[in-house]
Symmetry: C2
Subunit: 335 residues, 2 copies
């Protein structure tokens, strides 16, 4: 295992120490819980609190999206596993200012259970918690079973919309409605070309044969729809585009935000090549790109692969996407 780490069982603790030092202008660690990261602006103005959380190994997700006008507090789990209910609870309390807390997270069994417990604990403290569960990964279940779909990179757009809405002074119900609309209008799919290794395991957690790719792979190497012969960027883009376009469906005249993310080891160069193909396909569709993001926005350690996310935007969503944020993972310029 070729890694720059100390004790493999302490990677999350060690990473968080470095993260908090580098980004001290943006975030700080919860004084009583080292597994909660809090935005320095969390209590700057009275508003609905925005909370998320998830497993580690997805940098910049999740902690990289804490900051002004986006997420107020983040519960941090072990590599690829849910934060505890206590960490979600501590994040909720840290984000609360009496206007309620929107917990916007991804659809995984552990997160669902722990957020539910945390919400009950918070309600005992008279903190109102409402949730939106991201399920943007079209490859993870059929459309008729969309409540079984996993949340992936579309969560970034959900946080951006929810965070902006809260910053605008919206009520908890308004923040929840906008965040739900954001994820309902969003679809994602990923392909994997190479595996990753959880440090404590020391062996890759799945295998992808040279010359093949796993179409529809999940953020933790969950099996996709099929294993295929590795295709060209043009062919991969077409296949991913077709699956997403049909599913919502996106239609001629729609405006969309496009987010292409590498999964870790895929050079950014390849992500631009892939984006160029997507842009050509959308142009042929008559679909207008309102904004595009290309880079390592939601990774899976050193997995080789790419994800495509598209959100159909209306005026409300565009206004939220345009709001300036100050986070490690996203800023207004150069994002």
């Amino acid at each position: 295992m070729q890694r720059i780490i100390n004790d493999p069982s302490m990677v999350v603790e060690d990473m968080l120490k470095g993260f908090a030092k580098v980004h001290k202008d943006i975030v700080h660690v919860h004084p009583d819980n080292p597994r909660v990261i809090i935005s320095n602006t969390a209590k700057e103005k009275k508003k609905v609190g925005i909370v998320t959380g998830g497993g580690s190994g997805h940098k910049p997700a999740f902690i990289g999206y804490a900051g002004k006008n986006m997420v107020d507090a983040v519960a941090v789990g072990e590599i690829f596993s849910s934060p505890t209910a206590k960490s979600f609870y501590d994040a909720i309390v840290a984000a609360d200012q009496g206007m309620g807390v929107a917990c916007l997270y991804g659809n995984y069994a552990g997160d669902n259970m722990n957020v539910k417990m945390a919400s009950m604990m918070a309600e005992d403290d008279d903190i109102m918690v409402k949730t939106v569960v991201a399920n943007d990964d079209v490859a993870s279940a059929k459309k008729t079973d969309s409540e079984k779909r996993r949340g992936v990179a579309g969560e970034i757009l959900m946080w951006k919309v929810g965070g902006a809405k809260a910053a605008q002074g919206a009520t908890l119900d308004e923040v929840i409605a906008a965040s739900q609309k954001a994820i309902d209008h969003t679809r994602s799919v990923g392909v994997g070309l190479g595996p990753c290794t959880i440090p404590a395991n020391a062996k890759p957690n799945f295998k992808i044969e040279e010359g093949t790719m796993e179409f529809g792979i999940g953020h933790h190497g969950e099996p996709g729809i099929r294993v295929e012969k590795l295709a060209s960027a043009k062919e991969i883009a077409k296949e991913m585009h077709d699956l997403i376009i049909e599913d919502l469906p996106f239609e001629k005249g729609d405006e969309v935000v496009v987010l292409v993310s590498g999964l870790g080891a895929t050079p950014v160069m390849e992500q631009y090549i892939f984006f160029d193909e997507i842009e050509q396909l959308l142009q042929a569709d008559g679909i207008v790109i309102y904004k595009s993001y290309v880079g390592n926005y939601f990774t899976s350690l050193e997995m080789n692969g790419i994800t495509l996310t598209m959100m159909k935007v209306d005026e409300e969503l565009k206004e939220c996407i345009d709001m300036e944020v100050e986070t490690m993972g996203l800023t207004q310029i150069g994002e």
Copy 2:
């Protein structure tokens, strides 16, 4: 070769098309030379022009640092090889506004030759060109042969200083002096844990045995000082820190900018773990971190490894580092 590309011989063209589409708010392609990227602000106000250039495969370097208050025009080479003299010349002409052009680039034979030819061509057009050649990689030659040292991630700090100085309205000589001071005060070193593959070659261009690391590796896999047993983050940080500290030397009471960059496939998590060790070492030295950057700032395709760069700063350099920039690779917040 597990890559998301089309024709392996066209990756630079295809990448540039995607890059220009995503970042159209920041840059555009030279109308007559697809291998030159120009900042949209290049002619916004009369000032000294800032030019750089280099091989592709190092995203965000080099084109990701084109933008407001940083680099005005970038010549783009093939993967890991110098841009042509013609591209450097076209970049120089694009950046010139009659106050001269500072060409700030890295010390590689091809770049040296092509910048020299481009400067002569520009001088025939009465454009004054002066150069600073980055040589921050301490592992690439002895200190007594420092003119043989390669330029690596320290170039980013050189561009930031030169770009800021030009934006402040300095003369060409002042821009050159500040950029030269920046690189003279900067030292870098890298370690490699895994190779990368140039798309047109289809095979890794060097080999690193499992359980070993190459200490002092270059940005294109140039051999380092020695091959060692893979150590812990703490030990790797100590070894890299010691080499850099002695070389300048950095001393107690100094203020420094620290830049940690992954080489491509190294998860950002590991980069934060590594930074945490560096921060502890510098604290013990009595050296003060003025600003720190951790992320994939200067990569080598999907190489597994990390670089450490430190610049000793005075008031002039601090003022330049603090200036806001708008580029794909660096922004003021979240950088």
